[in-house]
Amino acid sequence: MRKVTELARNPGRKAASAPPVGNWPRPDEPERFVASREEYLAMYRDMVLIRRFEERAGQLYGMGQIGGFCHLYIGQEAVVVGMQGELKRGDSIITGYRDHGHMLACGIDAKAVMAELTGRAAGISAGKGGSMHMFSVEHGFFGGHGIVGAQVPLGAGLGFAHKYKGDGHIAVTYFGDGAANQGQVYESFNMAELWKLPVIFVIENNQYAMGTSVNRASAEDQLYRRGESFRVPGIQVDGMDVLAVRGAAKTAVEWVRGGNGPVLLEMKTYRYRGHSMSDPAKYRSREEVQAMREKSDPIEGLKKEIIEGGHADEAALKAIDREVRDIVAESADFALEAPEPAASELYTDVLLGTY
């Protein structure tokens, strides 16, 4: 157990015994992103928005206003915010069921996301999808998929479509350390490299697949190496440091957009909450979670860097906090007041054609 705890506490650490990587073309080691004042504040805002939104979703779940499964992103905010900063409008994003943060990072209205969680007609999926099944074609967000690992070939397919159309865009495919053991992930790596598809595979390694730690489930627990047998270059990233993530994203995006084929990024991150709202969390200690929050929190880390680096003062960050609080409060009010879908919607959206 000690080994598990230690790994969890050092999310960005690489194994000392890492073997040399394969001798095929690969991007350079990424450098930590150097942000402007505006970029610092934007990343801070986006991470705080996800954090506060998820906390509120957790409360609404506790009140019985959100049903079913609800997987919160708290602790992992740096991953999606760092990645998103390097993407362009028209790029495609796809992930699994822990998707609220990705939607907010894509710029989707918090009200539409929260109203989907409460199952209302104004939800982004008109109340028919729920927490795990949200989409916004307009924002290039292709879900929101409930079957572990299924989004990986789908994401490769989005990349295939970009290449086929020759539109210069790329697909970013997020999945967890648990999904990394699904066979279809490797089928996707193989085809993506074989056909040089413009896809960034992002493993959000939050250390636990539900209650099973990476070490208990993965013979090769350095997940960034998992693509090397397919010649997909892998990079391990400190996923608790948004600037490290953004730097890796920059490197990966350049590589992939340049027609060099896919890249695998392993983000070492951590979720503070349970796997879902119904998780008793017996598989890890309270101390472990607490230590992570105190030492590695992505928002606190960035805040400290902003202030110590003189990029902005406490008051500027407080103003952002207030703005975010208002957005989240408004989204929760909206989601509770908005009407449920009309009964007549039960049979709509099954097929598009009339036969």
Binding site: S125, A126, V137, G155, A171, M191
Partner: protein, 449 residues
């Protein structure tokens, strides 16, 4: 004098074309030498000599078409023939590695749709196999819509494991005709993602038996997306390939998935019988904005029908009365339609006038046509090349019981395959598969004759 017989080179091969002789009379051949090229229904294959010797006669001229499996095609005298006693007939055998059993399991010839059938084409037609019709459907749609592409195992360079994609690579290139690794869940998912991304993929499964590895993407990723996204995300994709029993390939390669997919809201499921419907419905499937499962049948690929010329599109969701009758309704789909038509002919000789309906689309199912027919005949037998439990036949029985109860003069009967995994032995396989004789018996029974 030892002869080599034309071997069966695939499980369904019944005859072949002797495309080319690579040896001449008087040539000395060694074991393993290629002596001829044989064109089968699926591919051009090389025939090797089993034993060495001198070619004494070419028994079938090059270019001969429709040479039956088991026909002697060449005579080779052994090297020590002069001294040795004449070899036993058993030595005249096809090459060792080729399965010979297939020749025994003849598939029944297709039963033509009677010219009097209500929906018979009136314009110009041409005789085509189901295989050619499917290929033409894809080629025509690919010519008019850049977004359409084909992917699957062996679809490009090999020209299709069952030759359905023959010639497509040459016309459309490797951007649009894509050989995949053997990776069903991977390419089914990749194709589904490409459809979400705005393309119109045709994903070929070498057979639908292998699609079980990929069924999560067909159902969870493709079929449910539109609904789960509140109508904003489309997934226009066609999953196609042979379905149902082939010939002597055993339980894991012989299964009808029609009832499985037809139970899923969000999918369109098509299972045509004839070449004209295969073409017209595949074109409709490719144009559909919805995910389509298109179930073909290997035993039907080589069967010929009259296919209308031009842009022949058949509407999805409409059954077809392939034989009009007044005494009993026989409903089926895919290869079962041939069984039903055969039974109808026998019944006609016995004074029973059967109406035969080809469902063509399993979802959405045209139950109105079935109910209308039952309203006329008051008797129904459902014929299905598949298992009986939770089948299409079960579904139709339920619908007719619910909505046509007052029209029925007899219970609805189901004639299906036996409720067992398909056996290999020729006699057991025959016993397990749906048969016209059983349809005749059932039809007589509901007519109380």
């Amino acid at each position: 004098m030892p002869q080599i017989l034309l071997p069966a080179m695939s499980p369904t091969m019944e005859d072949g074309t002797l495309a080319k002789w690579l040896v001449a009379v008087g040539d000395v051949v060694k074991p393993g030498d290629v002596i001829a090229e044989i064109e089968t229904d699926k591919a051009t294959m090389e025939l090797e000599a089993d034993d060495g010797g001198t070619v004494t006669a070419l028994l079938v001229p090059a270019g001969s078409e429709g040479v039956k499996v088991g026909t002697p095609i060449i005579a080779i005298a052994g090297e020590d023939e002069a001294e040795a006693p004449p070899p036993a007939p058993a030595s005249a055998r096809p090459p060792a590695a080729v399965p010979v059993a297939a020749a025994e399991s003849k598939t029944e010839a297709p039963v033509a749709i009677p010219a009097s059938a209500p929906e018979t084409a009136t314009g110009p037609t041409r005789r085509q196999t189901v295989r050619e019709a499917l290929r033409d459907a894809m080629a025509e749609e690919m010519r008019t819509d850049e977004r359409v592409f084909v992917m699957g195992e062996e679809v490009a360079e090999y020209q299709g494991a069952y030759k359905v994609t023959q010639g497509l690579l040459e016309e459309f290139g490797d951007k649009r005709v894509i050989d995949t690794p053997i990776t069903e869940i991977g390419f089914a998912g990749l194709g589904t993602g490409a459809a979400m991304g705005g393309l119109k993929p045709i994903v070929e499964f070498m057979t639908f038996n292998f699609a079980m590895q990929a069924i999560d993407h067909v159902i969870n990723s493709a079929a449910k997306t539109l609904y789960m996204s509140g109508g904003q995300m489309r997934c226009p994709i066609v999953f196609r390939g042979p379905n149902g029993a082939a010939s002597r390939v055993g339980a894991q390669h012989s299964q009808n998935y029609g009832p499985w997919y037809a139970s899923v809201p969000g999918l369109v499921v098509i299972a045509p019988y004839s070449a004209d419907d295969a073409k017209g419905l595949l074109k409709a499937a490719i144009r559909s904005p919805d995910p389509v499962v298109f179930l073909e049948n290997e035993l039907m690929y080589g069967q010929s029908f009259d296919v209308p010329e031009g842009d022949h599109v058949v509407p999805i969701g409409k059954a077809r009365i392939v034989r009009a009758g007044k005494d009993v309704t026989l409903v089926s789909y895919s290869i079962g339609v041939g069984v039903a038509l055969q039974a109808a002919e026998t019944l006609a000789g016995q004074g029973i006038d059967a109406e035969v309906i080809d469902l063509r689309t399993l979802r959405p199912m045209d139950t109105a046509t079935v109910l209308e027919s039952v309203g006329k005949t008051n008797r129904l037998v459902v014929v299905e090349e598949g298992w009986p439990v939770c089948s299409i036949a079960s579904e139709i029985s339920a619908v007719v019981m619910e909505k046509g109860f007052d029209d029925l003069d007899a219970p609805v009967l189901r004639v299906t395959n036996a409720d067992v995994p398909l056996p290999y032995a020729a006699n057991l396989e025959k016993l397990a598969l749906v048969k016209a004789d059983d349809v005749v018996t059932a039809a007589r029974s509901v007519c109380y004759r």
